[in-house]
């Protein structure tokens, strides 16, 4: 029987009190967003907010606990927008959403910063899951004004991320979020490079590495190359495109472990634990695969949701995994 691990891809909504408090402390303009050198009051507000979302995950019975990435004002672009050799440009659209982030313009060498490691060190749990943008998506979200060559830039971003991972405290799992593999998929040789870049980041940790993709299924050629990467699981968005996700798995196989995005991170309709469990079984039946381990998760980050529905979704994920165990 598959081991079910209830988790999420992170990037949580701030608690409502923290939205107000941090709006007051930081302001509403581009220049007011997190730059990595925030003052003690801001740090303290984030510490309290972090404790709250860590507790919420424990209460919901999730098997992996994320830091919540509450400081990531620029969503997945955060590790670059706080970097000393990156300048932030205008506000640009975050994929196909009504959300915006500051364009990270890389102006110098991407040396390790330790920013994400410091966040993870502040989490009190023995089931830590680290979350980072995958190198392909992070490079895709950024503007390179230093390396000059697309392949070199991707390598530099991968090396940078590997350096960040090196500094992480002990963690059970690393989720690398790679929505750009769907939204702006590599073509030709870039497929191989994307896979190699992911490999380079995954190599920096002994923890299980999940490359999670969403907003649809990645093109089959890209998928075939991704299978070459030495990662423990690939994550699929069964909410947006179940058929194409199944196709990739059935046509090209997948890793021994899998992550199933079964809960909609962008809709307030809360899935019941029974519905989530049914969806897990549906995937198992349709892939004729007995996965060693299944990460049960939302398809996307969760900051799109109002706090009450976000918490309900955590509960539903935790309950779904528990429900399945009882049934087994």
């Amino acid at each position: 029987m598959t081991e079910l691990i209830a988790t999420t891809p992170g990037l949580y909504p701030l608690p409502d009190w923290a939205k107000d408090e941090l709006s007051e402390l930081k302001g509403h303009q581009k220049g007011d967003l997190i730059s990595g050198d925030e003052g003690p009051e801001v740090v303290d507000a984030y510490d309290r907010a972090r404790s709250e979302v860590v507790d919420a995950q424990a209460d919901a019975g999730l098997d992996r606990v994320v830091e919540g990435q509450l400081r990531w004002d620029d969503m997945l672009a955060h590790p670059l927008t706080v970097h000393e050799n990156v300048e932030t440009g205008g506000i640009v659209r975050y994929y196909d959403n009504n959300n915006f982030y500051r364009d990270p313009q890389v102006r110098g060498e991407l040396t390790p910063s330790g920013d994400v490691a410091a966040e993870l060190a502040a989490v009190d749990t023995d089931a830590l899951q680290a979350v980072l943008p995958g190198p392909y998506s992070l490079a895709d979200l950024a503007t390179d004004e230093y390396y000059g060559d697309e392949a070199d830039f991707l390598d530099a971003v991968a090396e940078f991320l590997a350096g960040e991972v090196d500094a992480f405290p002990s963690h059970e799992t690393l989720f690398l979020l790679e929505p750009s593999l769907v939204e702006n998929a590599p073509t030709d040789d870039a497929n191989e490079r994307a896979s190699a870049a992911i490999d380079a980041v995954a190599d920096a940790t002994d923890a299980d590495v999940v490359v999670h993709t969403y907003w649809g299924a990645i093109p089959e050629k890209t998928y075939a190359h991704l299978m070459d990467a030495d990662v423990d699981a690939i994550g699929f968005d069964f909410v947006t495109d179940a058929d194409a996700s199944l196709y990739n798995i059935n046509e090209y196989g997948t890793k021994d472990q899998v992550a199933m995005g079964l809960v909609d991170g962008q809709n307030t309709l809360v899935e019941s634990p029974e519905t989530i469990r049914d969806r897990v079984e549906w995937v198992d039946e349709n892939t004729h695969t007995d996965f060693e381990r299944t990460y049960v998760t939302s398809n996307t980050e969760l900051f799109y949701l109002p706090v009450n529905k976000f918490e309900d979704k955590l509960e539903a994920l935790g309950d779904a995994a528990a429900l399945a165990e009882v049934d087994a």
Binding site: P13, L14, D16, K19, L22, S23, K26, G27, H28, Q29, K30, D32, L33, D73, I91, R93, Y94, D96, N98, N99, F100, Y101, Q266, N267, T268, L269, F303, Y304, L305, P306, V307, N308, K309
Partner: protein
């Protein structure tokens, strides 16, 4: 037969008439924001009734401000509205609010959820229109958020997909416009900013517009405003829309996209943004005249409406007023120059 002549003022000084208009929102007076906060404070003696009075006062002030700039059509600057989706969702059965969600940084909005069939429960804008109509001496333009945007910027829990939700909302928008027309409204602008982010859905917006204009008399002018997107992805498809006027934001991009509308020939009226709403620099009359002339690359003067790029509510109020005033002055000067034959329209757009 064009329905724009009804907006020509009796004392219009020129033979040519380029209709001047606003897109919708206008900066709220500071005191209105203050008293809105007061009305929400349970310890304050400032009641909802007081707030209603304050809204009436603010509307009169802004209508008067619009009239003093010389605009041909005016509005109340949306003094009673908070946000372009929330305001309507609050009045439509089937919606619920769960709390704020992030747009960017610490900017949030109360993105509502559609949890049941949407239904028309109470009038959305008729009271607002009737008050403005009574207080204004000029014709009133009514901006209304379009169904596609109302659907796209909500969580959809109840409908099969966003297209189905959009169509259901379009029927409600049609019902509201019928009520507005009954109350005397003759100029309606449908705002569909969400189309700019998902241009592949232009056919859904087209179907919505067909539903919206069903049984609306021809003399009612229907505009469509779409801003901050790649217009080439919805052109020439938008020419199929059953509208009198397409309102664009092009000043912000320095008219880089103007050529999009020249091939094939633009066959509806163009409402052209001629002042940028995201810079506090007030464009001079001369600059704005050059911007207006950009419109002649697309349509002849009798098919050109002049407006700001978008709602001006984020500007300081005095900056907004100056921009509108310069816009009207520039338009009147262009009209006089057209009358005098001083502007070369080029062969492709000159009237027969």
């Amino acid at each position: 037969m064009s329905n724009r002549e009804q907006f020509r003022p009796d004392d219009h000084p020129n033979e040519h008439f380029l209709l001047t208009s606003i897109v919708g929102s206008y900066p709220k007076p500071k005191w209105l924001n203050r008293v809105s906060d007061l009305a929400e404070d349970p310890d304050s003696k400032f009641t909802e009734e007081h707030l209603h009075e304050a809204h009436d006062d603010a509307c009169r002030v802004i209508i008067d401000e619009h009239e003093r700039t010389g605009l041909d059509t005016v509005s109340d600057g949306e003094m009673r509205r908070n946000e372009m989706v929330e305001f309507f969702a609050d009045r439509i059965e089937g919606y619920e609010f769960n709390g704020p969600v992030k747009v960017w940084g610490h900017n949030y909005f109360d993105k509502p959820s559609v949890v049941d069939d949407v239904e028309y429960a109470e009038s959305w804008l008729v009271d607002e229109f009737e008050f403005t109509h009574a207080a204004a001496s000029k014709p009133v333009k009514v901006p209304i958020t379009g169904p596609y945007t109302l659907a796209s910027w909500s969580f959809n829990e109840a409908y099969e997909d966003d297209a189905e939700l959009s169509y259901a909302l379009a029927d409600l928008v049609n019902e509201e416009i019928e009520a507005l027309v009954e109350a005397g409204a003759r100029y309606i602008q449908i705002d569909e900013p969400a189309l700019a982010t998902t241009p592949d859905d232009y056919a859904i917006v087209g179907e919505c517009l067909d539903r919206i204009v069903a049984n609306i008399p021809d003399e009612v002018r229907i505009g469509l405003h779409v801003c901050y997107g790649d217009y080439s992805r919805i052109y020439p498809e938008l020419l199929e829309y059953p509208i009198d006027e397409f309102d664009v934001e092009l000043c912000n991009g320095d008219y880089e996209q103007i050529d999009v509308f020249t091939d094939p020939e633009f066959t509806t009226d163009l409402a052209l943004g001629v002042v940028d709403v995201h810079t506090t620099d007030v464009e001079s009359v001369e600059e704005i005249k050059e911007n207006i002339k950009q419109g002649f690359k697309v349509v002849p003067p009798e098919n050109l409406t002049v407006s700001p790029d978008c709602g001006v509510k984020l500007l300081p109020r005095e900056v907004a007023r100056q921009k509108i005033e310069n816009m009207v002055t520039a338009t009147r000067e262009i009209e006089a120059e057209l009358d005098a034959g001083e502007i070369d329209l080029g062969p492709e757009v000159s009237a027969d």
